[in-house]
Symmetry: C2
């Protein structure tokens, strides 16, 4: 996967109109097919998908001179305005993105430009600012919030800035436990490069197989092991960033009080302030032990209270997740088993890795048992581990079968958790019904903090015609409900374009003014990812 000098080969491309490795795409498992009518009633076959060759694009708006000049910067073979390249960079992997890929007429960036290092990225940004060309930074292409839509804002053209050639381990400080990666390094490549030196990053979001280290940073990612190792925010110790008007090299030391932490300005900036080109992260020795155990609680509230006690005590599991009754019933957490084992109550998965695993398990076990949990052995937890990156494949099969499937997520304090869950569940159910459909809503907690937790909702629904427009309305109502019930508009999917209208409610008018002021300073021609995070009218 990687050559001697720490650079890594490009991973296989994802399905152009679905998730992941085309070879792993599969039909809906029989058990799921049997279950669906029980949950959603009769399901209509959808319109067939279009083939890649049938997609109609508007011709590239870039002129020959632009393409020539871009080629001068990055090399002619790295400026691609072919139909296929443009379509492959036309969006991310939200369900709306995939529904758009099923249409004949599609929007796409005017070219895909792939620079090879920090200086080339900076040069492309200066060039595009000068020529009035919008730039959408593109890492693994796994955004589920519309951050990769080919929006050109006020500009005459838009390019996708594909960062896959910025790949590899640049430095490893084994004493300090710090690794510096080129931002385009994908999750599996980063772990492979570290593991041969005895280290692990330990960041495993569901997008892990395709997403990049730079994307983790830009979108404030959370991983399945975040209970043990923290959010990606907590792992980042340094960033190198190129902007249209200057570079940054941030993160001089751990524990600094030298003014506000500017790393945090770029974590969550989703490419609107600059392009992250290098990421320095805290790493730890590859864990030598792993223990898994599943637990069962009488209901979600009981399980959530147990989680709270574990989080507030500290020093608990590396992974801890709790499915609500609806998710537990269909075994959604164990992708390979969905619908096969119908279970009651609320099921929990725990995984312990690394130092003091046995002690952490012992102390956690005491808390979970005292809170009313019963161990159900390691089977379900092992099944969760097996299928933990496979959820998105299932969504593709559901869409093919005419079943709408999407996820959304939020977080709040422990005191507000059950209220928020109820409000969001109800808003989802009600708004699907108002649209004439039927929904099955499931929820789990995947990330815990001393003061609160995340809530991750999966909805499958039998939507009437035009699911894209229908979902847009539903998502709007549910987002309103999240904010009204005290949740954040995103726990780890980020803002993109889909959540931007709700960001101002969350951080206020003054908060948005701060973001816009930073953007105007660094990107005065407003070329970077226009419309993402900050609404374009803020450009003045």
């Amino acid at each position: 996967m990687s050559s001697e000098d720490g650079r890594v080969a490009v991973a296989s491309e994802m399905r152009w109109n679905g998730w992941g490795d085309p070879a792993q795409a599969s039909d809906l498992p029989r058990a799921v097919r049997m279950l669906l009518p029980l949950l959603l009633g009769r399901i209509r076959k959808p319109e067939p998908s279009v083939d890649l060759s049938e997609v109609q694009l508007v011709p590239s708006a870039l002129q020959e001179g632009d393409l020539h000049d871009l080629a001068t910067i990055v090399g002619p073979e790295h400026v691609d305005s072919s139909r296929e390249a443009r379509i492959r960079h036309a969006g991310g992997r939200s369900t709306p993105d995939l529904l758009r890929r099923r249409r004949r007429e599609q929007a796409a960036p005017d070219a895909v430009v792939s620079p090879t290092g920090h200086d080339a990225v900076a040069a492309v940004l200066r060039f595009c600012a000068d020529r009035g060309i919008a730039v959408i930074p593109f890492g693994g292409g796994t955004s589920v919030v519309g951050a990769l839509e080919p929006e050109r804002g006020a500009h005459r053209a838009v390019i996708s800035l594909d960062l896959h050639r910025l790949s590899g381990l640049i430095r490893l400080d084994e004493v300090s436990g710090e690794a510096t990666f080129a931002a385009g390094t994908r999750g599996p490549d980063a772990e492979a490069l570290l593991s041969r030196r005895g280290f692990e990053l330990g960041h495993y979001p569901q997008s892990f197989r395709y997403a990049t280290v730079g994307g983790f940073a830009a979108a404030r990612s959370s991983g399945q092991n975040s209970a043990g190792h923290g959010r990606f925010d907590d792992m980042v110790t340094g960033l190198r960033v190129a902007t249209p008007t200057g570079d940054l090299d941030l993160g001089r030391s751990p524990g600094s009080a030298a003014g506000p932490d500017l790393i945090r300005v770029f974590l969550g900036s989703e490419g609107v302030f600059g392009v992250i080109t290098e990421v320095r992260v805290r790493v730890h020795p590859v864990p030598t032990e792993r223990v898994v155990e599943a637990w069962s609680f009488s209901d979600f509230a009981q399980g959530a209270d147990a989680l709270r006690r574990v989080a507030q005590r500290g020093g608990g599991p590396t992974v801890i997740r709790l499915s609500d009754e609806a998710e537990t019933a269909v075994s959604l957490a164990q992708v390979g088993r969905i619908g096969k084992a119908l279970s009651k109550g609320a099921s929990m998965v725990t995984v312990y890795e690394g130092a003091d695993s046995a002690g952490r398990r012992e102390r956690t076990t005491a808390i979970l048992a005292e809170a009313g949990g019963a161990s159900s052995g390691d089977g379900d937890a092992a099944a969760w581990l097996d299928g933990r990156f496979d959820g998105p494949y299932l969504r593709d099969s559901l869409l093919d079968a005419g079943v709408f499937c999407e996820t959304l997520e939020t977080a709040t304090t422990w005191a507000n958790l059950l209220h928020l869950k109820e409000e969001v569940t109800e808003a989802l159910r009600e708004s699907v019904e108002t649209a004439g459909g039927r929904a099955y809503v499931m929820c789990h907690i995947s990330h815990i903090y001393a003061t609160g937790a995340s809530l991750y909702f999966t909805v499958i629904a039998n939507l009437p015609s035009d699911p894209l427009e229908t979902w847009r309305e539903i998502k709007g109502r549910v987002s309103d409900a999240i904010l009204a019930a005290g949740g954040t508009i995103s726990h780890h999917h980020a803002v993109g374009r889909d959540h931007a209208p709700w960001l101002e409610q969350e951080i206020g008018e003054t908060g948005v003014r701060i973001l816009a002021a930073i953007k105007r300073e660094l990107d005065p021609s407003w070329i970077l990812n226009p419309g993402a995070v900050i609404s374009s009218h803020r450009s003045r």
Copy 2:
């Protein structure tokens, strides 16, 4: 200390020209007096201090109309342009601040204004922006980096905005473990208010007895228990901020990916973007157990390696500190014993509090012993606990005896730690000698992270005449050395005015442009703490 409604009485005022409670000021202990000539040679008696009544101030530049209008906002008894009030708000508690308090002619703010809540703070800011009056936010008055100098920038007058009336526990969410304090609440008051509800904040910087919760946030404070509970940055879950152009209410939920974390824009902003009026923090149950143990290592390098192992394993002590050979020799870490017990090697203090204290101690003990440490029982550690807030009193006695004493601090990665320590120690020694003096330089590690640690230097010196100007030159050279050797310009003292010239080296031209852009947006007339953090020429 506190009335029924959660408000607390004002703590006793600090010595106007020294540290802390005037009743606790004392002469230099006999053992220290004996030791000093050995370390520094013959010491000349300094000029006697001036009395408060002898201080000469320029008359207040505020007009009657200004004072009247300010009184309308905050009440006439809370606008104080008396000599004493002005002098008491003329600076912080760095050694240069104290040396300036010894002079007959002093600079001071033109009045002290004490609003009582968020809305009154916002009204004062709008008024001052409108009238061209600079505003220096004032919490506990414990800054040691010149953040409280009465600099008026381009304005005709400057007020000190004293926040002591914003005091008390506003809300406590016992389930989520979150407490909201008015920003002017002092450390001891915050802990007293929490402890009667069974909770602790657990943030104990040396300034604890006077510093405020808002100051902890504004200056990115670290406390003695940061190994266990994290820096103050990590404790803050929400902020309310008043700026001249709008308010902010930040921190909707734990674990959010809703754009960049704007809380981090205000942590470390030192009053240049706005005034923090409320702080929401993570709290934990009052620990019921405490174990202390001192350790001895053959030298600092061995002890630092042991600290690294503890930090990288995680789940270690609540407090862990390592003194270098020079600090160990004079027992500086045990204020009551200084100079009495001359010890060899490098001494370490560990304290374990709260959940799993015994387990954490057992695992830490194994690491420390394996790294070459030898337990020296609980005596030295208990002595450290006893004297841990008393260091600044000793400095006053030293200054009275003609001995210059100051501290400075930095942080870096584990790999760079010994190099940085050597370079800074050498720069201190050399530049004191160049100035014709003699120095004794001591160092300890007080804060550890997975990837690195802090270095805290104490220098006592026999400086020739005009120690204020001589120290300015020395401090400049040492700051250069810190940056050149890869350290941060501050680990927890912050930037203020003293470190501002070095901040640009640390975060780069583009980094300073980001700070200036935020400031221009929120404080377009540049009234807030002009000259702190960001050099005033950035106002354009």
